[in-house]
Amino acid sequence: MDLIWDGVKEAVRLIFTGNGYVYEVLFTSLYVSGAATLIGLVSGFGIAAALAFRSPPGRVVVVGAFNAGMALPPVAVGLFVAVLLWRSGPLGQLHLLYTPGAIIVAQSVIATPVITALSVAALQSINPRLRLQITALGASRLQTAVLLFREARYSLLAAVMAGFGAAISEVGATIMVGGNIKGETRTLTSATVLEVQKGNFETGIAFSLILLLVIFAVVLGVTHVQQRRPLS
């Protein structure tokens, strides 16, 4: 218990003493995970719309694959992304390995299936007759899609929230493709691993608590928006 309490005190100290290292790590985490979530959101919403509003051949298999993708092992993702980004790999000429860009790619691969699978479920839970009614109101295809996304906005927010959570809390892929370079690719999760490996348990706990605090703040904000809707 003392260890945890010391960790809490260390976290408070690190946050409120304006420790540049902590803010740098925090910023890197928010930057890479935010970007990965944004990529996951754009691609996930697009794929979800295609799967929910149309009936492409093999839809069940594709939806099943995205559902399975929610449980992608981050280490495996990290390994495959690293192989792709190696200098001798197919995407080697991008020179992304051991940069924040590599972490964004890896975290996008983790966040996209989560956002896609939950978005498909959200869009498919809309009453199909509402789509008919929106079309009958004179909506074009694009207007129909926009209105349906608006109808599912609260569930879609949850999907984005889950995607962000998966990205920011992930560590295996981040270390594998980012290298945990101080000032470059060190995130809250990789910093925690490093501090624990160094035996600085208080600092490790402090980074963990800051990570939890960030996740809680983001989730609380989104939940607040979600829960403002009137009860039916």
Binding site: R129, L132, Q133, T135, A136, G138, L147, R229, P230, S232
Partner: protein, 369 residues
């Protein structure tokens, strides 16, 4: 003759190898309400979706104001549809009512003016700021109607809009709706499986069964002169019995039904085998013997009451007049005439109440008027 606002020709929808709708012709005229009447599963809602350009037909031609429909979206924006379930967007009542206008790119000031006008007309201005999720069924359906009227459609489709409402709410919404349907040359198709609603709102009635329009014409004609036995049963003709025409004098047939002679009906020839149709509300019941005094009722048949069944605010009398005969009377009449199973009565009905269907006659009747 007035040009129809909307006309469909040879409309056919096939899904999974099954014909869902197969309609030769339907026309909607300016200012009229065509009630589309039919049992559940007849294809009424699908026909509406085809005519409202929400579903693409397998084959067929749809003509709006004389021009074949090509640009589906722009034509669809000249129509409005109210579905059975008032499917509102998860936003305020005001935004819901203005949704169709917003989708058509109507300017905000114009939108606000028209939304306010229709909220007022449907008696719901107080709901403007409410979330659509918090409305009762009746309120939601009024919002749904306002949302349809506000776009000032040339064609309005009402697909069983009252079926989910309780009786008092339904009566209220219907009475508010009735005058709104007679405006600016708008044509309305009103889908229902309720005969009373079809009679109340419909200028013409089309009877749809098994994906086909089986009869179309003035509401009074459909109910008094159904084209075939199935339609007769559906529109509430309770007495349908087989007879043979003995003679036709001055256009009025004399028909033998189970050794009884009745007079009435037309359009048949001596020797024809016919179905004699008689609505229960056209049959009068008395206990007094027929004294032969002059009366407009041409047919008087001695009959015996076999069963009395409560029928809403009426009582349904099942009689044996040599053939099964059904009458509707009030409970007051049952008490006054001391009616009960086994009671001997005199069943009377006018010749004009009789409708004859020649056996084996066509099952399609068109009287577009």
């Amino acid at each position: 003759m007035t040009e129809p606002v909307l006309a469909v020709h040879d409309l056919w929808l096939n899904q999974g190898g099954r014909t869902i709708v197969n309609v030769d012709r339907v026309e909607l005229y300016p200012g009229e309400v065509l009630a589309l009447l039919g049992p559940n599963g007849a294809g009424k809602s699908t026909l509406v979706q085809l005519m409202a350009l929400l579903v693409r037909p397998t084959e067929g031609r749809i003509v709006l104001q004389g021009n074949p429909v090509r640009d589906t979206l722009s034509c669809r924006r000249r129509m409005a549809v109210v579905l059975q379930e008032p499917l509102l967007l998860d936003t305020s009542v005001r935004s819901n009512v203005g949704a169709g206008l917003a989708l058509r790119g109507v300017r905000r000031e114009e939108r606000v003016r028209r939304v306010d006008e229709w909220l007022e007309r449907l008696g719901i201005p107080h709901l403007a700021g409410r979330s659509a999720r918090t409305l009762s069924g009746g309120e939601a359906q009024r919002v749904s109607l306002a949302r349809a009227f506000v776009v000032e459609p040339e064609v309005l489709f009402l697909d069983e809009p009252f079926s989910a409402l309780d009786a008092p709410t339904r009566a209220g919404v219907m009475s508010d709706l009735q005058p709104l349907l007679k405006r600016n040359g708008m044509a309305t198709m009103f889908v229902t499986h309720d005969r009373a609603e079809a009679l109340l709102l419909g200028d013409r009635v089309a009877v749809m069964m098994d994906g086909r329009i089986r009869q179309i014409g003035r509401a009074s004609d459909i109910f008094s002169a159904p084209a075939d036995e199935e339609i007769a049963q559906f529109v509430g003709v309770e007495t349908i019995t087989l007879g043979r025409v003995q003679s036709v004098t001055d256009g009025v047939a004399t028909v033998e039904v189970s050794d009884r002679i009745i007079e009435g009906g037309s359009g048949v020839n001596a020797g024809d085998e016919v179905l004699v149709c008689l609505r229960p509300e056209d049959v009068s019941i008395s206990r007094a013997p027929d004294d032969g005094s002059p009366t407009s009722v041409r047919n008087h048949l001695p009959a015996r009451v076999t069963r009395i069944v409560p029928w809403g605010s009426f009582r349904r009398l099942e009689l044996d007049a040599g053939f099964p005969l059904v009458a509707l009377v009030t409970q007051h009449a049952v008490d006054d005439l001391e009616l009960g199973p086994g009671a001997e009565v005199l069943a009377g009905f006018k010749a004009t109440a009789i409708h004859l269907i020649r056996k084996g006659s066509s099952t399609q009747s068109w009287n577009p008027d």
